[in-house]
């Protein structure tokens, strides 16, 4: 029988530890499919960060480095500067990238560092059990905003794509969503373009993927996907924020 669907080569054939209904698995798959299609696994170095995806090196087949919390763009910079022919990507969550790692992501983008960033935004710290993230929506309940995120107390959500798009060094910035098949297909195109931008040496590329966290949201997987569509997208509109016309 013909094989019509299989695991990408860039993903190992192993069980993932992610919770049922979590979209990390989809995000991993998209990155791996793109690595396969561009035939770059042999020269790719991935940087895992701190958070639920700390051990993504157990899932991706390429060479990997596990970085300190928030520092993945700096670690990626060190790799890329020494090995410009390697394809270097970071895989970071919203706490990692938009809180503790704000300086590293802003300056990697400002330098036009020729790396690709996969940014998982699920509006919550997943691994440490559901605390407020910089991207937590107003009025969202988390373990550290038990009365809801109140702007007077906790400030406002950070729109990372919009922020980084103001920087000249950022070549390609897109926000996509993983809440249904149509959007997943679009997300894959975004990831692919981001890697192609790096291969074409055009500078910094980042794709933000709106993701779910059923466990910490206290919702079923299906409800979680609906929440992305109904609550997250209004705050985090989808689209290309930088490099729409970039030919790669």
């Amino acid at each position: 029988m013909a094989v019509v669907f299989q695991k990408p080569k860039a993903l190992k054939d192993t069980l993932m530890h992610y919770c049922p209904g979590c979209t990390h698995g989809i995000a991993h798959r998209l990155v791996a499919e793109v690595i396969d299609e561009l035939e770059i696994e042999g020269k790719t170095v991935g940087i895992a960060s701190v958070g639920c995806s700390y051990n993504s090196y157990d899932y991706f087949s390429c060479d990997m480095i596990q970085a300190p919390h928030g520092r993945a763009p700096a670690v990626a910079t060190g790799v890329k500067r020494c090995r410009p022919d390697c394809v270097v990507f970071t895989y970071q969550g919203d706490g990692d990238l938009a809180a503790i790692g704000t300086a590293e992501i802003v300056h990697a983008a400002a330098r036009g560092e020729n790396i690709t960033v996969i940014f998982i935004n699920n509006t919550v710290y997943g691994m440490t059990s559901g605390q407020m993230a910089p991207t937590t929506l107003l009025n969202q309940y988390t373990t550290t905003t038990p009365y809801g995120r109140i702007s007077d107390l906790h400030g406002f959500p950070i729109n990372v794509c919009e922020l980084l798009a103001t920087l000249k060094g950022a070549a390609y910035i897109e926000r996509a969503s993983l809440h249904d098949i149509k959007h997943i297909k679009k997300a894959k195109e975004a990831v692919k373009k981001a890697f192609k931008v790096q291969l074409a040496k055009k500078g910094f590329s980042m794709v933000e993927l709106l993701s779910s966290c059923p466990t910490n949201w206290g919702l079923s997987p299906a409800e979680s996907l609906r929440r992305i569509e109904q609550e997250m997208i209004p705050q985090y509109p989808l689209g290309v924020f930088k490099g729409e016309d970039l030919e790669v």
Partner: protein, 365 residues
């Protein structure tokens, strides 16, 4: 030896690094070591390398982590408050066994402190400034010539043991100018780095650089491997200088700039008939306890002199282990110990441990 040049200490470090094959530097400005960055910014592009001014010390050490993970010789430099910021990264480098060279040209603390020379980061450098059971090799040069030679050696040691090597200098060493004689050819040791993360090229298994092991048994095993490596380094890499030690009965223990002052004090003491000598640790970790065994028979007492409140003093006390009295003289805040003050302590020690000891022995017999 070959070409001679008059150089500032910081520049000698930078030139040495380049000669040792380090073409990648990531750093952030801070007095009194910034000349290292200036030199690298000028020279590395000429040699096909990369100088990058990072957004912070934190970012700089993580760029070093990334660069070192590719098996490339890499360094960063800073001064005390900046080195504090690098501690998280240093702990990761230790855990993941990524080789790198880190220079600390110490200034006085705590806090923002001042920009004058100090030795008050000894604990941080030698006892593990970051979290976890880890060590780094700490080298303490005492001249511009030695800054050059030990920096070259630091890269060899880092690669040999997959460890961070710290050059621990102070503001005087960084800023002073002396003649340096460069070797015609550097003694660069080359090591295979099959662990390096460079893309597997579809020809080998995946390489992973990591320090996380959530299984405690695995993590304990990793720690045991680290400790075994540290024991090997302790056995093989202790370095020290003994000065005027053959006939000495009183010993000053000092490193770096203070060791130079101590040598001058020892000559002054000898003109007064006091037989003083010097133990100068060159490796601060591993601490050269062997030097103490060599002189213990003859030594009547020790005097530790530091530009701190007494940090190396604790290692001296451990090495002497109660067998002799250990005195201490220190200055802090960027103040430098004066020869006369040290000599005064030496005279008192001579009075108590040599003259009176002789009198007591004579009376007893």
């Amino acid at each position: 030896m070959g070409q001679k040049r008059l150089m500032r200490g910081n520049e000698a470090i930078a030139e040495a690094a380049i000669r040792a094959g380090c073409l990648y530097y990531f750093g952030y400005p801070i007095t009194p070591q910034t000349e290292i960055a200036h030199y690298m910014a000028r020279k590395l592009p000429e040699r096909g390398g990369v100088f990058l001014q990072a957004e912070s010390e934190v970012a700089a050490i993580n760029m070093v982590y990334g660069a070192g993970s590719t098996g490339t010789r890499v360094m960063t430099s800073s001064s005390s408050p900046g080195i504090s910021l690098k501690q998280e990264g240093l702990s990761y480098l230790a855990g993941a066994q990524v080789p790198a060279v880190v220079v600390n040209i110490m200034r006085a603390g705590p806090g923002l402190g001042g920009i004058q020379p100090s030795q008050s980061d000894y604990f941080q450098a030698c006892k593990g400034g970051g979290h976890g059971d880890y060590r780094q090799i700490v080298l303490a040069p005492a001249s511009v010539q030695e800054l050059y030679e030990l920096t070259v050696e630091a890269f060899n040691l880092a690669d040999r043991y997959r460890i961070v090597v710290m050059i621990l200098g102070d503001g005087i060493l960084g800023q002073m100018m002396e003649v340096v004689e460069f070797r015609d050819e550097e003694l660069i040791e080359h090591y295979d780095k099959p662990w390096a993360v460079t893309g597997h090229g579809n020809v080998r298994e995946q390489n992973v650089i990591t320090s996380i092991h959530l299984n405690p048994a695995v993590l304990e095993n990793m720690n045991r491997n680290l400790q075994e490596k540290y024991e090997l380094i302790k056995k093989k890499e202790c370095r020290y200088e003994l000065f005027r030690h053959d006939d000495a009965d009183l010993f000053i223990v000092a490193y770096g700039t203070v060791a130079r002052i101590a040598k001058s004090v020892i000559e002054m003491a000898r003109r007064e008939g006091i037989k003083a000598g010097l133990i100068r640790p060159v490796t601060l970790w591993p601490f050269p306890t062997e030097a103490f065994e060599k002189v213990m028979d003859r030594a009547k007492a020790f005097l530790t002199v530091e530009m701190s409140s007494g940090q190396m003093l604790e290692d001296v006390l451990l090495a002497v282990n109660g067998r002799r009295k250990v005195y201490f003289h220190g200055r802090m805040g960027g103040m430098v110990p004066a020869r006369e003050d040290i000599l005064k302590v030496i005279r008192d020690m001579h009075e108590k441990h040599v003259k009176n000891y002789k009198a007591a022995v004579t009376a007893g017999s």
